[in-house]
């Protein structure tokens, strides 16, 4: 699909222009928003135009779906950042935001592992810059931690890709699938190579036990940036690529039984679910809690992706979408709280609900959706994932993953109690609700969460079932 190129090129052009507008106050933000809105509409248009066409392997349905999500989240973040980013270097800020969007679009549009790697690096470098944007000591530390772990991951990826090139002579997805299908029966080398790749991508996703960079990076970055990182960057740079690897893995040993490497990845996923949820209980900071919650939710996506049955894949994609909406929303709410009160520490101020009713209400919606409570969107994706696990015979895993959602609910209730509900403490007397610029993205995301939750067939019929059809 040549057309996909525009999703990479236009933001880059925009970034260059933005960089020249560094002294301007409003222009860069406006430009970035226009470009992203435009990209979002085009991606929707392309998706609906190309429904029903036949593609190989389904990546194209997948890329189109991911493109829509990337632009949706990036747009929300850019809109939020226009109001929330307090920097004099607005030109650079939005330029890097556009670069990261271009990088993510590149990741999902590439049809070749090496191209994927190149774009992964673009995203990674842009993320370091954004995390450390304000030159604060803490955020620089977070960025450097991310940088170290990410470079290890990159080394692994490069190593795996070169081995793959040696072994199969090809790095395009199409070529890989062909070779894999030919070498049925001698799967050990492929398993090892893809396993290495998977480990590297788990680092980028921030799965347990490779998670140590996520809480620091999310906590130290400014709120729009944490929203971007948790909402979409780790999903594209980590989970999406992991989903691809899992799909490749699922055709190694195809039809015999579940792949050993796939099973191993599932255990990592389960570990993340439980660890993230347990670690989140102890957090004293809103954003750190959200970071651990992300680790836990990424576990759900990973476990489903590694299972790789059609239902599980649908669940994984659906959960990627849902997590993108509710985690972005929650980080926005954290941003609102930080902006209004100057801190995101839990238990330091109580009863914010009275002063910030809209932030509090949308945050509650985001939290309940994360915990997988109906009628919010998170419930349906979790249902898919749990049902797929049960169906495939992983009953123990499915029960564990299910009951981990009580843990999710538990830490969010703790947060609710320590921050939003509860009788109002004295130190919040002067706190005011944020302006409309901050609230509109929150409302929009909350609306998506509720709408999808009430009528999930909209997402299922339009986005997931075409993908499943191609898979089968």
């Amino acid at each position: 699909m040549l057309l996909n190129g525009i999703f990479v090129i236009i933001p880059v052009i925009g970034a260059v222009i933005c960089a020249f507008l560094n002294k301007q106050k409003q222009a860069p933000g406006l430009l970035a928003n226009i470009i992203l809105l435009f990209g979002f509409l085009i991606s929707l248009h392309i998706f609906f135009m190309s429904l029903g066409q036949e593609w190989f392997f389904g990546e194209d349905v997948l890329s189109a779906f991911m493109l829509i999500m990337i632009y949706m989240v990036a747009l929300a973040v850019a809109f939020f950042a226009v109001f929330a980013a307090s920097t004099k270097r607005r030109g650079s800020y939005f330029a890097i935001l556009l670069v990261i969007t271009a990088g993510m679009a590149g990741v999902v549009c590439s049809q070749d592992l090496f191209t994927l790697y190149v774009f992964l690096e673009v995203v990674a470098v842009a993320s370091f810059v954004l995390i450390a944007f304000y030159n604060r000591e803490k955020s620089t530390e977070g960025a450097i931690r991310y940088f170290y772990l990410s470079s290890i991951a990159s080394a692994f990826i490069l190593f795996a890709i070169s081995l793959l090139l040696l072994y199969t002579g090809d790095t395009t997805y199409e070529g890989l699938v062909k070779t894999i299908l030919q070498t049925q029966g001698n799967s050990a080398p492929l398993n090892i190579i893809l396993g290495t790749l998977a480990v590297a991508l788990m680092i980028k996703t921030g799965l347990f036990p490779f998670h140590s960079w996520t809480p620091d990076a999310y906590e130290s970055a400014s709120s729009p940036i944490s929203a971007l990182l948790a909402g979409i960057v780790t999903k594209v740079a980590g989970t999406y690529a992991l989903v691809l690897v899992c799909m490749l893995l699922s055709i190694v040993n195809f039809g015999i039984e579940h792949n050993t490497v796939g099973k191993a990845i599932m255990w990592f996923g389960l570990g993340s679910i439980v660890f993230g949820a347990l670690a989140a209980q102890e957090q004293k900071d809103f954003k750190r809690m959200l970071a651990y919650s992300s680790i836990s939710q990424m576990g759900y996506i990973t476990i489903a992706a590694a299972l790789a049955t059609p239902l599980a894949m649908a669940g994984a994609l659906f959960h990627i979408f849902n997590h993108a909406t509710f985690k972005t929303l929650l980080f926005f709410c954290a941003g609102n709280v930080k902006k209004a009160t100057g801190t995101t520490a839990i238990n330091e101020m109580r009863g914010l609900q009275e002063k910030m009713p809209y932030t509090s209400a949308t945050a509650t919606i985001g939290m309940l959706a994360t915990a997988g409570l109906p009628p919010f969107s998170g419930f349906w994706s979790k249902l898919f994932i749990i049902a797929a696990l049960w169906q495939a015979g992983f009953i123990g895993m499915s029960v564990t993953a299910l009951f981990a959602s009580v843990l999710t609910l538990a830490y969010f209730l703790k947060l609710q109690r320590g921050m939003f509900f509860g009788s109002a403490s004295k130190n919040i007397a002067n706190v005011k609700e944020q302006g409309m610029g901050f609230l509109i993205p929150c409302f929009a995301l909350a609306f998506i969460i509720i709408a999808v939750g009430i009528y999930f067939p909209f997402i299922y019929n339009n986005f997931l079932s075409p993908f499943i059809k191609v898979l089968q």
């Binding site: 409570l373 009628p375 749990i386 299910l402 959602s405 609910l409 509860g422």
Partner: protein, 475 residues
């Protein structure tokens, strides 16, 4: 021709619409309480009409197809219509009571919003014939009860609200597991397609566990007494009349379609009996008025589970008659407790006494409701309890019947004790009699429920006749 399907959809949708209108109309200076009252009234009228039409054998069906067998499927059978009418009637009375109880506060709109959302979810749950949607509505009720129990914002109140929420969500996940298991073993989660099917034993167990947690049967019962921190109308709505009946209702509804395993049925009987006895004993020792009544609820819910587990026409009839009678009487008791608390500013019964002189109407209403719960003829509660034992005779194991007979005796004991300490015993402190015991809405509500407890007993042939014709449980 009257559109009966439309009536059913209206019953489900109307409370939701009302709930959404509450925050909007608040901006137009319309009292949230009035909106809620109107909504509840409308819901009750349509549910009652539905109940009437269903008795002619017209069962409305409404279906929105959804992928993976999760069709949004509403089915208005007799059980559902009866439950909807009973629940919405009690909600209406309780909303009327709230007009006097809930003062102007920042959370007033939130209270009525959550209450109406709860009613809507209840209606949805009652009519749903698809396990996935039963689960969805089930969890919405949990969500609303979380906000309703956490109405007061002191730290301990919020903590108890969270506890309630966590336990019920934990229990509900068993229903989730059950639906996944049933989807996997039977290929469908639509109850009408599961008619006459058998499901794996563990799936049955999951459903039972879920029902126990929602209906506060031991070992999941600890949240119910704690949830008494809520305002009295909330306790009445959630913990006496409506929410705790969800578990028993879902259990009854699911197992009218699916065949209940005989071992599972006996298990339910014994666990329910033990739960009734433990709760009855706890009610004897407790000194917090709302906790006594809450334990009494747990104890009475055991009887309903017992009746459903017996099954057959007679058992089901007994169970639903019990749901009605207990909802009316126990709702009345909780509302009276609210008036007492309002007057004495305490929940501790050891500090009360002699209140019969200070608040005679409340005492009378409390007495009527208590007599009904005890099962003294000619009050309504007698007939429901009698029906349960009638259904049990010959069908249930003797041991279970004996245990329940003890539980019934305990009911007599702890309610007499409660009434004595609160109303008759010599007063520990002087309460002065005032002209009004409480705002008139509160007094009218409890009087209505008290009189109804009696009338439902005197004219028991109507509800009993309706239920036994519909369920085929002829006497």
């Amino acid at each position: 021709m009257f559109d009966i399907t439309g009536l059913m959809i209206f019953t489900v949708l109307f409370p939701f619409v009302g709930a959404l209108l509450i925050p909007i109309l608040k901006h137009f200076k319309l009292d949230s309480g009035k909106v809620a009252l109107f909504t509840a009234a409308g819901t009750f009228v349509s549910a009652f009409l539905l109940c009437y039409y269903v008795s002619f054998g017209l069962f409305p069906v409404y279906r929105i197809p959804m992928p993976l067998g999760m069709d949004f499927h509403l089915l208005g059978d007799a059980m559902s219509a009866f439950m909807a009418a009973a629940a919405s009637f009690l909600s209406f009375i309780i909303m009327y009571y709230s007009q006097g109880y809930i003062k102007e506060s920042a959370y007033k709109a939130e209270f009525y919003f959550a209450a109406m959302l709860f009613l809507g979810a209840m209606m949805g749950l009652v009519f749903s014939a698809n396990l996935a949607w039963i689960f969805v509505f089930w969890e919405i009720t949990a969500l609303c009860s979380w906000r309703l129990v956490g109405y007061f914002r002191a730290d301990s109140d919020i903590a108890k609200a969270n506890k309630t929420f966590l336990i019920t969500v934990f229990g509900a996940l068993f229903l989730f597991l059950a639906l996944v298991a049933i989807a996997n073993s039977n290929g469908t989660i639509d109850l009408t397609e599961l008619r006459g099917a058998t499901i794996p034993f563990y799936a049955t167990l999951f459903i039972i566990l879920a029902a126990f947690s929602k209906s506060a049967i031991f070992p999941f019962s600890s949240w119910l007494p704690d949830a008494g921190v809520a305002p009295s109308p909330v306790t009445a709505l959630l913990h006496a009349a409506v929410l705790v009946k969800i578990g028993v209702f879902a259990f009854a509804k699911i197992f009218t379609f699916i065949i209940l395993d005989i071992t599972a049925a006996e298990l339910v009987m014994y666990v329910a009996a033990i739960s009734s006895l433990i709760a009855g004993a706890a009610a004897l020792k407790e000194t917090n008025i709302k906790r006594v009544i809450a334990y009494s609820t747990i104890s009475q819910l055991g009887f309903i589970f017992f009746a459903i587990a017996i099954g057959g026409g007679l058992g089901t009839t007994a169970a639903f008659l019990f749901i009605l009678m207990h909802g009316v009487a126990k709702g009345g008791l909780f509302l009276c407790a609210g008036i007492i608390e309002h007057k004495t500013h305490t929940k501790d019964i050891t500090k009360m006494g002699g209140l019969a002189k200070v608040m005679p109407i409340t005492a009378l209403a409390f007495g009527f409701c208590a007599l009904s719960v005890m099962g003294i003829p000619p009050f309504g509660g007698f007939f429901s309890k009698f029906m349960v034992f009638l259904a049990a005779a010959g069908e249930a194991p003797t041991m279970a019947i004996v245990l329940f007979a003890f539980a019934a005796l305990l009911t007599l004991a702890y309610l007499t004790r409660l009434f004595h300490i609160v109303f008759i015993a010599s007063p520990k402190q002087n309460f002065t009699k005032s002209k009004h015991e409480a705002p008139h809405q509160m007094m009218i509500s409890v009087s209505v429920l008290a009189i109804l407890s009696l009338l439902l007993g005197l004219f028991v042939q109507w509800p009993l006749g309706y239920l036994s014709t519909m369920f085929g449980g002829a006497l």
